[in-house]
């Protein structure tokens, strides 16, 4: 789970870094990815893992459009308003999905992923293993994109210092649109990868968003390596907690960790974000 958590966290943290807003609709974007994978398989027989090639670009465009036509207009209203705006967006998307798909729990089954892999005597579900591998690949690709390309550098520059980026001739508005699209695509892609391993239901975003916050704050808001570390850490804490403490309180462990980090190290483990 760790790598998938990391992917969701990176999307959130990039958007926060560039736009200084916490996107409360991030969980719904993951949900959209899950349903896209489900519908793709049901109606067109698309393999969920291959369908990521289709859904990631679609969600990227959707994210850019969301930014251009909706978010960009409220950004001047201040942080609080934008935060609440994304809360409204989140409710709108979740309930639109509820209207369209009803609240039933669905599962997506893969013919080849019923028997778990058993390397070294540990049972690993195939779907989770493929999801993990793809998440690692996507994260690496993103890392290269942010580090090596002009656009990636522009995104990092904007998130470090917006004013300086403007002075250097970076079109900050365009960068923000791309980052929001990227964040949406990452969330959606994580959703696609998660779809075979989780139950699908329209309000699954609620569960995801809280975890995403924990991850991002653990690593430091705005920091991409932090989000990776936070995701892996949360995944590990949850799995170990489920084994050694109690499976009912495993989610609670994540929150406790979260509160501790918030209180004692609000800039995150990596200390990149500022409080």
């Amino acid at each position: 789970m760790g790598a998938l958590y990391a992917m969701i966290g990176i999307g959130l943290t990039i958007v926060f870094g560039v736009m200084r807003i916490i996107n409360l609709a991030h969980g719904e974007m993951v949900m959209a990815g899950m349903f896209a994978a489900y519908l793709g398989q049901k109606h067109w027989g698309l393999d969920p893992f291959l369908s990521i090639l289709l859904w990631a670009p679609v969600l990227f465009l959707a994210g850019v459009a969301l930014y251009r036509f909706l978010l960009a207009r409220v950004l001047p209203g201040g942080e609080l308003n934008t935060l609440l705006y994304t809360a409204g967006l989140s409710l709108l998307i979740a309930n639109a999905a509820l209207l369209l798909f009803s609240g039933d729990y669905r599962t997506l089954t893969l013919g080849y992923a019923i028997v778990p892999l058993r390397p070294f005597g540990i049972a690993i579900p195939v779907a989770l293993a493929i999801g993990f591998a793809l998440a690692v690949a996507i994260t690496t690709a993103l890392w290269l994109f942010l580090g090596r390309t002009d656009l990636g550098r522009a995104i990092r520059a904007t998130s470090q210092n917006r004013e300086a980026a403007i002075l250097m001739g970076i079109d900050v508005d365009r960068v923000a649109a791309v980052s929001f699209g990227l964040g949406t695509a990452l969330a959606g892609a994580a959703g696609v990868l998660l779809a075979p391993s989780l139950y699908l239901y329209p309000t699954v975003g609620e569960l995801v968003i809280v975890k995403a916050f924990v991850i991002v704050v653990l690593g430091g808001l705005g920091s991409v390596p932090g989000a990776v570390a936070g995701g892996l850490l949360l995944g590990t804490v949850e799995s170990l907690g489920a084994v050694y403490v109690s499976s009912t309180y495993k989610d609670g462990l994540g929150y406790v960790l979260f509160l501790l980090v918030l209180l004692y190290r609000p800039s995150g483990i990596f200390g990149v974000g500022r409080s």
Binding site: L84, L89, L91, A96, V217, L259
Partner: protein, 329 residues
């Protein structure tokens, strides 16, 4: 909306509203009004902290659930009559807010919001798993309420009217508190904190204390509303009262109505409850879609909220006699 005139107008409006059950016997209309009063109380409670002090909490469901659970547990396990249980539930919520606030208020802005979210999720986990006290996921069902004679008349708990009056009184209490607060010294402190916390601290305001007191007040009002919820719906479980959705709805009501205003939450609750219930009747699922839509439209076009904008317009149109009018978009 200033001074004694406003207070008198509010009192008259409350009395007039109290007479409604004598005229209207349609129980659906009364039910809608009860929901509006309940949500207006919650919006008001949230608004004290979020609107006046600018501390955006995403975890008020924790206080709501605490009040609800306290009232239900006291009644079902210790046979404390609910009309004592409700204020006790409010006090329990206030009591929990103080240590939580002392810790959480070390954080600012989005970090504070995220911490409240985590606290609420923790509370929900506790309610789900601490079966000894909370019955876990099954929750509590209240089958009957104790008989009560008021002014020599027996209360009919199956009718809507007693709940209507109780909800109205609760909302009156919340509004009165907020109105009193907004013209008090503490209210001024809170606005100063909202506008610039460092500056407020620099002029000698004990910001943590002001925020904690406000949170306790907000917690008390939220807890009372939680207790009322249990009595009215007679059923609670962790998903019903400790849901993230409840926290968000409180935020929405305050924002749609107008942050930092006294009448705003009532206006917000009116708009959202009517929109929500109408859609619920027609489509069943997904009635919260309008909450989201409303929220987005209001922030986009009326960032100061419906009542916030309306009261500005009224002030501009009639600077001498400020009177409440129909909210305008």
């Amino acid at each position: 909306m200033k001074g004694r005139g406003a207070l008198a107008a509010g009192g008259v409006a409350l009395l007039a509203a109290a007479g409604l059950p004598l005229v209207v016997h349609n129980s659906f209309v009364l039910h809608l009004c009860i929901l509006v009063f309940l949500w207006a109380t919650l919006g008001e409670a949230w608004n004290v902290l979020g609107g006046f002090a600018g501390q955006v909490s995403f975890g008020h469901a924790a206080l709501f659930g605490l009040g609800a659970y306290a009232t239900a547990i006291l009644y079902l396990r210790a046979e404390v009559a609910p009309w004592w249980g409700i204020p006790l539930g409010g006090l329990a919520a206030a009591a929990v807010s103080v240590p939580t606030g002392l810790v959480a208020f070390r954080l600012r802005g989005p970090y504070f919001s995220l911490a409240t979210l985590a606290v609420a999720e923790l509370m929900k986990l506790v309610a789900l798993n601490w079966e000894w006290a909370t019955n876990g996921p099954t929750g509590f069902l209240i089958t009957s309420l104790p008989p009560l004679h008021l002014l020599g008349l027996p209360m009919d708990w199956e009718a809507k009217a007693p709940f209507y009056l109780a909800a109205l009184a609760m909302m009156g209490l919340a509004m009165g508190t907020v109105a009193a607060l907004s013209s008090s010294r503490l209210g001024a402190y809170l606005v100063a904190i909202r506008e610039n916390e460092d500056a407020a601290e620099a002029v000698g305001i004990d910001t943590v204390r002001a925020k904690v007191v406000t949170l306790a007040l907000s917690g008390f009002l939220t807890g009372i509303a939680g207790g009322f919820y249990v009595l009215y719906f007679r059923y609670i479980d962790p998903d019903a009262v400790l849901n993230l959705g409840i926290s968000m709805e409180m935020v929405f009501i305050a924002v749609v109505g107008g942050l930092g205003t006294v009448l705003g939450p009532l206006v917000g609750a009116l708009c959202l409850t009517f929109a929500g219930e109408t859609v619920r009747e027609r489509f069943g699922a997904g009635h919260l879609i309008f909450y989201g839509l409303f929220m987005m439209l209001v922030i986009r076009f009326l960032p100061e909220g419906i009542w916030g904008r309306a009261s500005k317009l009224i002030d501009r149109l009639s600077p001498k006699e400020a009177r409440p009018g129909a909210p305008r978009g």
